[in-house]
Symmetry: C2
Subunit: 158 residues, 2 copies
DNA sequence: CTTATAACGTTTCATTTGAAACGATAAAAC
DNA sequence: GTTTTATCGTTTCAAATGAAACGTTATAAG
């Protein structure tokens, strides 16, 4: 009655494990070397691409819920890594941007994150890397069709 | 100073999102149709392959920590889906196995999980599917080298 | 203008989390 | 045989989580 279901060959399960391992390995580095949690790191990375942003902009770009972003931003502001200013035209919005220290820190973290990723991807050839992106893209699109777009991507559905 | 880090092209981040989406889509089904959480489903799937097992066997096979397994097993026993008997030779161990109802439920859930996976994978050709497994395998092996084998795979490193 | 509705970010609160402590049993060392 | 050490599963506890409620500000409708 095994019904042919092998957990090791069940994509959702394997994907979860791979994702966890990657997150864990990287999170350990953020934490040890820079004292950053993953949500904090993601906020920084998002601001690294565009500045200033509102908290809501970050929510949209990172697939984190707004409570989590709010907390991460608060910690970063408290740590002196971000500046938080009211938006001149819309008082509901915050204008988040790097402080001098935040910019410096990011200039250190980002290259290291990229180097780590490169090291991870070094087991793949260029062709394989391209394949990986393409495959993930396809799967993500397919699975997105099943999820009501409003549903937030919670953690720990595990 | 963007440092060339694009979150959308950053593997740990994209992997996390894909994994979340897949888990969410599937978890919604388990929950709605069978009232199962993912840990509960994993316990069932593990027992579907081999029976009886101890809680610890399940911990080893699922990459879940023992507290989570303990809770999932308790819920399943309480729901009348599992039988829990003391091991005759080692009183520390539990012998977990399907109850009649558990077996019936699993006979319903498992084919559905497989069908769902098949539907997800239907966007890929056979070749692509093989590639996907191979790529994931390589990455997992590579990243495992960085993780002290003792470290458990927590959720929500996010 | 006034009222109703919507959007933003924070906070609250019940739940989930996993590391560590725990009691109980077994195995190993002496 | 006694003591020490290790293993199993549960429970405890502090921290993280996220849905919902909230206060505030802006926009739309009347």
């Amino acid at each position: 009655m095994s019904l042919d279901l092998q957990l090791n060959r069940f994509l959702p399960y394997r994907l979860n494990i791979l994702s966890k391992k990657v997150s864990l390995a990287l999170a350990t580095r953020y934490q040890e070397r820079f004292g950053l949690s993953i949500p904090e790191w993601r906020v920084l990375a998002t601001l690294g691409q565009e500045q200033p942003l509102s908290s809501n902009d970050i929510v949209e770009r990172t697939a984190m819920d707004k409570a989590k972003v709010s907390r991460a931003v608060n910690r970063l502001v408290a740590a002196g890594l971000l500046d938080r200013q009211p938006h001149p035209r819309d008082q509901r919005l915050l204008r988040l941007s790097f402080s001098a220290r935040g910019r410096d820190l990011y200039a250190q973290v980002a290259p290291e994150a990229l180097a780590w990723e490169a090291q991870l991807l070094s087991v793949l050839t260029d062709t394989e890397r391209a394949q990986l992106w393409a495959l993930m893209e396809k799967l993500e699109q397919r699975v997105a069709e099943e999820i009501p777009e409003s549903v937030p991507l919670s953690d720990s559905l595990d």
